[in-house]
Structures are given as structure tokens and as C-alpha cells.
Symmetry: C2
Subunit: 190 residues, 2 copies
DNA sequence: GTCTATAACTTGATAGAC
DNA sequence: GTCTATCAAGTTATAGAC
């Protein structure tokens, strides 16, 4: 299971490169240059360009799903669960910026059957998130509204983090998290 | 200023194609096939592939900026202004789905000097939107929080519309707009 | 493992006949 | 205006020497 240092470097640089330019606009020559190799040498460590995208996408997906399971199994109120889920997204976005971007936007360049598999995992996650929102509405903690609207709004608004974060550090991380969490929880309340 | 029917068809199909697959993943041969021509024939009507992207991006930008100006010039309260801006976004997203997507995500494939110009227009729009939010906080209509956080959250959450809308029609357009508006205005209130 | 060389293919765009 | 033919450049990936 130990990953060689070169392979790790390739994966790290690929994450950054795909984030900056997008998967399609990133060539294996660009990647090799950043790693300090010729393009052909990359293939001693990896099988293909898409394999890199697959690894990034599915590793990220695993992170979300594990976090979701831990929260589901707890006996918190829906309000607290949603708070924890939002904090999970924020934490992933701020600790692993490049993967988050790729996970959010580049996954559609996966080929089958990976594309289908990714979509399934995503839908599973969304359904489980939606179920918690539903519970919160039924228990009267949240205002009644279309679950898909809430869900999509929360997801996409958590997605801007990965664009914004690497740039400005004028506002402290803690303050940012607090304001974002407050805005979204505010949106749900009665 | 009249655009020939063929040119219009090329623009329309380009919008749809770029939205579905992304700008880079769309080839001129794909586009030609949809239009019902050979790739080389496209160049009797347009100058280049990027010219299509430019037109889509800047036409969209114009729509937002015009809407912004009308709202700025009115004498509504900040709350009402923000409501109107959100409705403007919803309206653009639901009437011109493909352009909205490209405007949101594909603009970065513009080359200079268009890229710089686009960024400037975007920043201008964001600043003006931010100023209204600031006014609302100062007047006590909105809760005090980081303006960039509000702004980015509102923008990106309005952006999911263009992914969601073409698919599901189970919820009526009016209900959707109402819930989304409510969620976001809720997020701002004290 | 890394390199050079290259295969096999796709891309945007052009030339020139009709 | 549309076509066929083609160019020039770029792509992922492989072969084989070292």
C-alpha cells in the first residue's frame, strides 16, 4: 500500500495542475515538467492520465461518504447534523483545495464505467443529506421548503470555497467558516 | 446588424454543445455535424472557435450589467434591491440556460486580452453587488457579516440553477424561484 | 527508471475546386 | 457557401536503448 515518493509527487502535481487549468487543458508534458521528468517517464509510475483523475475523484468521494456515515450514526438533532456536514465540507475544502476543485468540476471527464460509478456515489450522498434536511423540516427545526432547493444551494455555495480560498487570506479562516455556516443555517431556519 | 440564419444556428448549437461537454471537449467537427455542415464550412460564417466563446461570454455579461444598472438607479431599499438582483439571476438562468453555464464556467478559456476584460467586468459587477449588501448591513436590514462571504454564497448558489433546471420539472418554476429567494434572503436577515 | 524517438490520432484552421 | 484535401501543431501513449 506504500506509494513511492515519485508516484506521490506525480499525484500531487496532477491535483494542482488539473485545478489550475482543468483536466483537458493539462497535458502530460506540462505535468512531467512540474515533476521534473520527461512525459514518457511518467508511464513508469502510472497507467494513464485518466487514472490520475480517477484517483483524485474517488479519494475525495470516500472522504465525504465517511464523514457522512459518522454523522448519520450519531444521535444529534437534524440542526446539529447539518451543521456538522457543512463543517465537513469546509474542512475538506480548506485542507485539500485542489482535490475539492477536481471533485466538484472535473469529474465529468471520467470515462465509463467510472463516470457512472461516480454519479451513483454522488447521488447516494445527496440523498442522505436530503434525508437529514427532510427530518429537520418534519421536526419543525427548519422552515418547510423544497428539499432539492436547499440541498443544491448548500452544495454549490460550499463549492465557492475552493475558488476563493487559495487567494485571499485577509479574513481569518475561523471567521470565514463562522459566517458561511451562519448564512446557510440562517437560510434554513423558520 | 442582422445575423444570417446560418450564423445564428451556429451560435445556438455552439452554446448547447459547450454547455454539454465544455468548451475544450467540443470540437469544430462536432459543432459542424450539429449544424449540418462540414467543419471547414463553419469558417465562412465565423472567424474562429474562440470567437464563439467570446460572443457568448460577453453577451451574457452585458445582460447582468444592464440589469444591475437599472436596479442601482432605482430608489428601493437594499433588501428590495438584493431581491431584484436575485430574481434577475434566476430569470437569466431559466431563460438562457446554456449561456449561463458558459458564462459561469467556460470563460476561463478565453485568451488575452478578452480574459482580462471579462475578469474586469466580473469584478465590477461583484463590487456593485457587494456595495448594496454593505448598505443593507449598515442600515440594519441585514445581519453584519463578511460581504465577500455573502456575495460568493449568493452567486454560486444561483449558479446551480443552470445545472438543475433543464432536467427536473417536477417542481414548478414559480415555486422554485420562491424557495430559492426565501433561502437566500433568510440567510441575510438578522 | 529515465531517456529519445515515434506511432497513432485529434485538433483548429486554410487552400482551392465547384 | 459548401465541399474535399490537407496542413501544422498538439495530444496520449509505447518501443527500445541505456
Amino acid at each position: 500500500m506504500a506509494v513511492s515518493p515519485t508516484k506521490k509527487k506525480i499525484l500531487d502535481e496532477a491535483s494542482k495542475l488539473f485545478q489550475e487549468r482543468g483536466y483537458l487543458a493539462s497535458s502530460m508534458r506540462d505535468l512531467a515538467k512540474r515533476v521534473g521528468l520527461k512525459a514518457s517517464s511518467l508511464y513508469s509510475h502510472i497507467g494513464s492520465k485518466e487514472e490520475l483523475l480517477q484517483k483524485i475523484c474517488f479519494d475525495s468521494a470516500r472522504g465525504y461518504l465517511e464523514g457522512m456515515r459518522a454523522i448519520e450514526e450519531s444521535d444529534m438533532r437534524p440542526t446539529k447534523k447539518v451543521e456538522q456536514l457543512i463543517l465537513l465540507h469546509i474542512q475538506i475544502a480548506t485542507t485539500d483545495v485542489s482535490s475539492m476543485t477536481i471533485f466538484s468540476e472535473e469529474w465529468r471527464h471520467l470515462s465509463e464505467p467510472y463516470l457512472q460509478e461516480f454519479r451513483n456515489m454522488r447521488r447516494d450522498y445527496e440523498r442522505r443529506f436530503g434525508r437529514i434536511l427532510q427530518q429537520g423540516m418534519e421536526s419543525g427545526e427548519f422552515t418547510e421548503m423544497n428539499v432539492t432547493v436547499c440541498l443544491s444551494t448548500i452544495f454549490t455555495s460550499l463549492r465557492w470555497l475552493h475558488r476563493w480560498y487559495p487567494e485571499k487570506r485577509s479574513i481569518s479562516m475561523k471567521a470565514l467558516e463562522a459566517d458561511l455556516l451562519r448564512f446557510l443555517m440562517n437560510g434554513l431556519r423558520k
